[in-house]
């Protein structure tokens, strides 16, 4: 996922079995990230999502992980009328986001048509996915969120913990000071400033910004493309979503980034999550329940 994952479990040693259980759970939590990466990376030619692109028009059996990730991505695409679209992989490559962050290796995809999420068919009964047109799935936001949620689920018995995957996070319980976790949101333009600082607990928080990854071809292009135009989305500079699940927070943050505040806020409200949308002109829009210190 090209991301450093940090896991913190608050609590001291306890007895030996307790420590072993904790180390065990953290090991499993980390393993989830590797597992999701193995299934869903569009940069790894052995991943299931890459294998799918080699067999167009044929139902391809996939693991439950890929099946669920794709199913969720399609539901999100439908909910957002294509503002989020997991078939944007080819456009990402066109715009220069074609390197494996880990190895530097370039990926290439043979897609000519502008496929959409409607060209992807999931058969949950038989656990297969069919691509009806040549396309490359990009599960980026959904896969990372899913991995965070799986890790969080693994750590839930410990109550107080933090899973942080490159600024997208899940916080459980409280921090080592016994207080709710304090999370700052990076300002998209003012260097060094924070947009907001929040005290949060038992929720996921994901930020999509136009500052993270720039295209190597064109510096004005950032990694959040509007699937409908295939160009960088320009209605927002930063979107932060707080939701019960990271997969929801990450997915909706990406969608709301593309939609901008006018359509994005109603989308967030409809799904009962809180969000902050900052436009390129630095206007702030929040859902009614958004609270800050």
């Amino acid at each position: 996922m090209g991301t450093v994952v940090t896991i913190e479990v608050v609590g001291h040693g306890g007895d030996a079995p307790g420590r072993v259980a904790r180390a065990d759970a953290v090991g499993r939590a980390i393993a989830w990230f590797q597992h999701v990466e193995d299934c869903c990376s569009r940069f790894d030619s052995h991943s299931e999502v890459r294998q799918l692109s080699d067999q167009i028009g044929v139902p391809v059996p996939v693991s439950p992980t890929t099946l669920e990730a794709v199913q969720f991505a399609l539901a999100l695409a439908e909910e957002t009328n294509g503002a989020f679209d997991p078939t944007i992989g080819a456009a990402m490559v066109e715009r220069g986001f074609d390197r494996n962050y880990r190895t530097g290796e370039r990926v290439s995809v043979a897609t000519t048509e502008h496929a959409t999420y409607r060209d992807v068919e999931v058969d949950a009964i038989n656990s297969t996915i069919t691509l009806h047109r040549p396309l490359q799935l990009d599960l980026g936001a959904v896969a990372k969120g899913l991995a965070i949620d799986l890790a969080a689920r693994e750590l839930r018995p410990f109550t107080n913990f933090l899973v942080n995957a490159g600024g997208d996070l899940y916080v459980g319980g409280h921090n080592a000071a016994g207080a709710e976790w304090s999370v700052g949101i990076r300002h998209p333009r003012e260097e060094g400033a924070l947009l907001d600082t929040l005290r949060v607990s038992n929720c996921a928080m994901c930020t999509s910004g136009d500052y993270e990854r720039r295209s190597v071809i064109d510096q004005a292009t950032h990694h959040l493309l509007d699937p409908r135009t295939r160009h960088s989305a320009t209605r927002a500079a930063s979107v932060t979503v707080i939701a019960p699940l990271a997969v929801v927070a990450d997915g909706l943050a990406t969608a709301a980034f593309v939609l901008g505040p006018v359509q994005g806020l109603p989308l967030l409200a409809r799904h009962g999550v809180e969000g902050l949308i900052v436009t390129p002109s630095l206007e702030r829009f929040t859902t009614p329940g958004w609270a800050h210190e």
Partner: protein, 254 residues
Amino acid sequence: MSDSNKPIQPVDPAGPGQWLKGNLVGLGSAAVLAVYAAGFERTRAAAAKFSDEAAVRRPHAPIRTTGEIGGLMPRVPDSAHTPQPKIVAAKPDIHAASKSAAAKRPEHATDTKPVPGADSVKPQATVAATQSPPAPAHDSTPAPQKPAEVAVTTKPTPTDTAQSEREIVRKDGTYTGWGTSRHGDIQATVQIKDGKIVFAAISECLTQYSCSWIAALPPQVLARQSADVDIVSGATQSTDAFYYAVIAALNKAK
């Protein structure tokens, strides 16, 4: 009920989760559960490996469970070992300084020899094969971590330990330390005068991206007199690098 078209049940036998359409949180929960259930065994091997590594490190852990029965009795900060000056004392306290530096959260009040990673569970897992700095021990809470099976949450009472830790004496001087992230390294310079951090800055920035956007962090170190900086959503990797750099610098202030 049969005349209702409400999607209470799967209308389309296309599969589980269909009735959750329009409810992303519900669908997400179902997805997480399904993957978790299917993949639990898969993560076992990795977990066992990690557990073995942890077991190798564990003998170095300082004994910090004294005074607890089954990990359930609240731990009282051991003031015999740790001076907790309300006013900064003139004499530098080596243990206190290193301890404060090694503890991410400043509640580390009991052990005199913190061993980074001894007993903490903060591995820097990097899916991207990153060389991460060693995670410091930071896992002390005023109240005990309950066993996994106990469902009752015991919220630890924040004590004034945190406050006193922040005022702990460090040796005067100017110190530098390096922190590492996937995007590159950061060197922090910390100046200590009269036992207090009077200056903290990013002195070298070898990251792929500009360091300037984490410029808010050094003033925070001054304000808090510790390396306890916030998590920054969207900028975590460099934040961590700065944090480790400050830790490294403070470790030299002995």
